[in-house]
Symmetry: D2
Subunit: 355 residues, 4 copies
Amino acid sequence: MDFRSDNVASVAPEIMAAIAAANVGPAAGYGDDEISQRLEPAYSELFETDVRLFPVLTGTIANALSAAVLSPSWGAIYAETEAHINQDECGAPEFFTGGAKILPLQGINGKIQAEELRRRVDAGPKGFVHAAQPAALSITQTSESGTIYSAGEIAELSSIAHGAGLAVHMDGARFANAVAALNDGNQSCSPADLTWRAGVDVISFGATKNGVLGAEAIILFRTELAEEMAFRHKRAGQLASKMRYISAQLEAYIQDGLWLRMAAHANSMCWALADGLGAFAGVRIDKFGGANELFVELPGETVVALREQGFQFYDWPETIAAGPDRRCTIRLVTRHDTNPGEVNGLIAAVKKLAG
Amino acid sequence: MDFRSDNVASVAPEIMAAIAAANVGPAAGYGDDEISQRLEPAYSELFETDVRLFPVLTGTIANALSAAVLSPSWGAIYAETEAHINQDECGAPEFFTGGAKILPLQGINGKIQAEELRRRVDAGPKGFVHAAQPAALSITQTSESGTIYSAGEIAELSSIAHGAGLAVHMDGARFANAVAALNDGNQSCSPADLTWRAGVDVISFGATKNGVLGAEAIILFRTELAEEMAFRHKRAGQLASKMRYISAQLEAYIQDGLWLRMAAHANSMCWALADGLGAFAGVRIDKFGGANELFVELPGETVVALREQGFQFYDWPETIAAGPDRRCTIRLVTRHDTNPGEVNGLIAAVKKLAG
Amino acid sequence: MDFRSDNVASVAPEIMAAIAAANVGPAAGYGDDEISQRLEPAYSELFETDVRLFPVLTGTIANALSAAVLSPSWGAIYAETEAHINQDECGAPEFFTGGAKILPLQGINGKIQAEELRRRVDAGPKGFVHAAQPAALSITQTSESGTIYSAGEIAELSSIAHGAGLAVHMDGARFANAVAALNDGNQSCSPADLTWRAGVDVISFGATKNGVLGAEAIILFRTELAEEMAFRHKRAGQLASKMRYISAQLEAYIQDGLWLRMAAHANSMCWALADGLGAFAGVRIDKFGGANELFVELPGETVVALREQGFQFYDWPETIAAGPDRRCTIRLVTRHDTNPGEVNGLIAAVKKLAG
Amino acid sequence: MDFRSDNVASVAPEIMAAIAAANVGPAAGYGDDEISQRLEPAYSELFETDVRLFPVLTGTIANALSAAVLSPSWGAIYAETEAHINQDECGAPEFFTGGAKILPLQGINGKIQAEELRRRVDAGPKGFVHAAQPAALSITQTSESGTIYSAGEIAELSSIAHGAGLAVHMDGARFANAVAALNDGNQSCSPADLTWRAGVDVISFGATKNGVLGAEAIILFRTELAEEMAFRHKRAGQLASKMRYISAQLEAYIQDGLWLRMAAHANSMCWALADGLGAFAGVRIDKFGGANELFVELPGETVVALREQGFQFYDWPETIAAGPDRRCTIRLVTRHDTNPGEVNGLIAAVKKLAG
C-alpha cells in the first residue's frame, strides 16, 4: 500500500529477463556491444525519425546533460517553477551547463502557459550583454502536477520558443504515462507527435519510474548535437563500461509495447483511485491529469489515520500544520506494479474515514 | 578468447542473484531502502573502521567526485602519467573539481616513485598565489601497468603527501586484484592495511571490472567529507532512484569473500599466461605485477596472426608500424570469468607462432 | 545633461592626483607595493575592525567572487529580484560559484522584506539533498530602486539569515550614497553600523560609480575567508600586476572623507531634482529613497520631448508603448560631478512641458 | 636598480596624458563611449585586417578568456611547460574553459619545437571519447625564456595545429618586445606577419608590462568569435563601467608607434646588459633572445653581493642552495623606463665582483 512514488516500484519481469539474456560471455565495453548498437535503430523506429541516443543512469543527469548541449554557460532556461530541473536536482543543470540560470515560469496545474511564456520571452534580454541569455525552454511531460500537455500545446510552446531562438527540451521522466494517456480510448497520438513533430529538440526519455531497473535515455532529435554529447556523456561518468546491461533494459522497455502497457496499467490504477475517492463527501480531487499522479485534499485527521493504517504517500506541498480539522493535500502515485487490491484498500479506508 | 579488458566480462551469478532477490515489491527510493542502509555497516566491517559509502555507476565518476572533495577548484592533483584520472576520463576530474589541474608524475612500471613525489612536492608552489595549489595525490591500485603497490609503498607515498598537506586518493578500479595478490600464499595484507592504515583518505572502490553489473563505491575514510559528498553525488546524477539494485550488487560483492575469489581467479589465469608465454623464445614479458594484467612483447607477425585466429587484445601502447619484423607489445587482461581453455588456447597459439 | 547612470561620471581630481602620485619609479607588482599594503590598515580603521581587502575592477566580479566564497557550488543565494547579482551580471555569480542558484525575493521598493525572507528560509530545503542548499543572503545597498536599508533593517535580515546558517553579503555598489544619506542632518550611522555590526560578512564596496576611475574592493569582515579569496581573486584575473594604480584610487577615495563628500553631493542633487519635479502637477514621484536615484512618472509626451532637448536618462522599467498619453517612468541618477545647472535645466524643462 | 620584472615599471607619460584627456565630463558606460568605439578601427589598421577587440585588466584573464573561446570544456590546449597559461595563472584557463586540460610541451629555450608538436598532435586522442580533446595551441611571444619566434616558426607551428583541427592562440604579454626586436636594423616584420598571417586566431595583446597602467586587449582575428566573447567578457567581470579610461590607454599605446618605441628602448637596455655582462669571465649568458629578458649565470657569491648592494632581480629557476661557490642563474628584465644609469650600474657592480 505504497503510493509514495513510481520510483519505489519493482522491476518488470521482462526487464529482468533482458538483463539476464545479456549476460552471456564477454562483450565489448563502453557501448560497442551488439545490444547497445541496436538502440539507435530501435528508437529511431519508435520515433519515426533518425535519433541519437545516450543511455544514462538517472533523470537528473539526463536533464543536466540535455541542458548543457542546449544552453551555453551564460545561458538561461525557462522551466515551470516546480519542474525537477528547477527544484529537485541540487543544481545539476547549473553545474553541467557551467553556470546557466533556470528562469521559473509560474504554470497552471503544473503546465507552462503559452501566454506567460510569450510575455517572458518578449521581455527577455536577447543580446543584452548584462543578462544571461535565454537559450532553451524545458517542458515536463507529464508535469510535476501529473497533468499532460497535448501535442498542440507542446507545438505552441515550441513555436514561441523557436521563434525566439530557444531550443526545446522535454523532461520525459513520465513520458510513457503521457503517451499511454493520450492513446487511451479513441485518441491517437504518437511519440513523434509529442516530441519532434511538436518542436522538441531533445528529450530525457524516462524508463526507471516505469518498471526499469536503472536506465534513462537522452534522445537527440537534432542529431548534430551528438558529437558534443558524446564527450559530455563520457565526462559525466555516464559511459558505463558494461553498457550492455543498461542498453538491454532500454531495448526491452520499448519492445512489443511493454513501456505503454506498463504506463497504461499505472494510469488505470490512478483513474480507479480518482473515481473511487472522488465520490466521497470529504474528499476533493485537487489535480488529476489522467496519468499516474493524483492530488487529493482530505481532512487532516483522515491523513493521519491512513498513515497509522500503513498507507504510504507524501503531503504535497503542504504539511498538516494545526489540528485534525486542517485540510491536507496528498499526492498518490500509481505504478506499473500497483495492484487493484492496493487501490481498493485505500478507497475502502478513506470511505470509512471520510466517506 | 577475449583478453581486451576485464570490463568485457559477464556478471557473476551471485551478483545476478542478489539483484533478483532485491526485486521484491516496493522499496524506498534514493538509498533509503534496507539494502542500501546495510552497505555502510558491511563496508565498515570489511575495512575495520567506520566508513561512509556512496554507490556510483562508473569509475570515472568515482574518481571525479573523489577529486572534487579532496581538491579545491584552484587545486592540483598529482597522479601517474598514465593514470585514468589523467588520461582516460575526458577531463572529468577537471570538470567536477571546477578546474583543478592534474600534475603528472612519471612512474616506473606504472608506479609513482617516492623520490619523484618528494622532489615535486618540495618544489611545489605551496601558498604561491600564481599557481594552482597541490591538494591531493592519487594512487592507482593496481596501477595502469598491472603492478601492485605494497602497503609499505602506499604508506610512504601517503606520508610524503600528508606531510605536504595533500590528501590521498586511491583509484581502486582493480583494488580486488591487488588485495587478492597480496594475500596469495603466505602473505597477509588486509583492505585496511592497503588503505586508511597506509594513509589513504578516499578510495574509488571498483567492482564492475570484477564481476559486477555496474556499481562502484566511493568510500570515505575521512567520514567528515560525507556531508559535502552527499550533495556532489546527487548533483552529479548518481543518486539512483532505485538504488536498491545497485546496492544489492555492492553488498553481494563482498559477501563471503566473493570479490576476492573472483579476483584471485583472474590473477591465477594471468599467472598461467605469464608462465606459459614467458617460456617461449620469441616472447618477452614486458610487465607483470602478479595481478590480472600482463604486457608481453611479441614479433609483429605473431600479433597479426593471433588476431587472425580470433584472439582479442589491445596493442599497448605502440601499434605495429612497419613490417612483420617489428616487435610489438600487447596487453592481456584476465577476468573473473576467464576460463583455463582460453588461456591454454592462447598459449598454444603463441607456441606455434613464436615458440 | 546626462542622468543615465553614475557610471557615466568623470573621475574626481583627487583620484587622478593619487594615480599620478603613484607613478614614481618602479614598484613591486601584484599588490606587494607600499600603497597596496596600506589599504587594509586604512579600511580596517574606516570600518573599526580588522578587515581583509581585495581590489577588483568591477562590481560584477566583486559580487561574483563574494558569492563564491560564501556559497558552495551546490548552494543558493537569496537576493531581491532586481538585484544586480540576479539580473545584470550575465550569470557571473552562477559561473564563479560553479553553479549556485540565485533565489529571487520580491521586495518592496527594491528592499527585501524580513517577513518574506523568513517565510522562504523556513520553507527552505535545508539538508534535503535534492535541492540546492541556501547558503547566503545578498542585500543591495542602496537598492536597485535607490532606497536605503537602515542599520536596523540590515540587522534584522542578517539575523534571520544567520539563524538559518546563511552568510550575509552586501552589494555596496552605492554604499557611499547610503552612508552619506544616513549621516545627513542629525543622523549618525557609521560604515561599521551598516555592515559587520549589523551582521554583514562580506561587502562589495563600490567606488567606481562615485568618482573613481575603475576600482572596487571586496572587503571581508570574516577575515578567515581571505586565504581562499586570494586564490579565487588571482584565478579570476583580478590580481593586477600594477596594483599600485588601483590601490591608489581606493586609498584616496576614503581619505579625508572624499567618498562621503562626493556621495553627499550626488544625493543633494537628487533631492533638488525630487523637490523640483515633485512640485509639478503632471509628475509623480515613483520612488526616491534619499540617495542618488530618482524614479518619476511623467506623461509619455514629456519624456519624448525631454529626449529631443538632449536630456539623457533611461525608461525604468517600462518603455513608452502606445501614444503620447501613456504615462512613463524614468530613472534619473545624479553623480559626484552633477552640477546644479544640469538639475535646474531639467526642472525648468519639465516645468514647461508638464508643470 | 630594479630588474625584477617589467611589471614594476611606471606608466609612460603619454599613457597618463591619454587618461587625463579622457576625463572630460560624462561619457557612456560599458564601452559605448567614443574612445572605446575607436579601438577596433585603430587595431584593425595596426593589424591590417578586421579585428574584434575586448579590453581586459590582466594577462591572466586575457589568456583564460581566449582559451575559453578556443576550447570546449572537454578540450585540451598545448602550451610550453613554462608558459604562463600552464604555470602562473592559478588554474584560470582550466576554470574559464570549464575544465579543459593544459598539455605541456617541453620546448628548447622556451620555444615549442615543431617536431615535438607534430609528434604529440599525431599521437593525440582525436575523437577518442575517453580523452580530453586537443583543441588549441598556445604560443608565448616572447617566450618565458625571453626568446622570440620568427614569423616562419609561428607559421610552421600554426600549420601543424590547424592541420590537426586546433586553433592557435598567442600569449602576447611581451608581443611588443618581439615586434620591436624583429624590426631592428634591416629586418621588417609586421604585427600582421607575426599573427594572423602566420595562422594565429586570437592574441592576448599585452600592454601593461610595456608602460601602460592596466590594460590588455584580447584581439580576435576570427571575428566570428566575438559574439560568444562578449558574454564571456561581461560574465568574467571585465566589462568595465568606465571603459573609456582603459580604452584611452590602449588607444594611446599604439599611437605614433609609442608601443614599439617603448619596447625598443627596453630591448636596447637588455642588449647593453648582455654585451656588458657577457664580457666578464665569471659570467655566462644563459639565455638571451634579443628582447627584454636576460638570463645570466653568475657565482653565487656575486648574486648575494649584488643584492646586498640593492640590485633587485629573481633567481631563475634555481635558488642558491649550498655555499658561495654554487653557480646561480638570475633573470634580468629591462623596461620602457629602465635608464642607462641602472644598466651601467649593474655592469660596473658585476665587473667588480666577477669581472
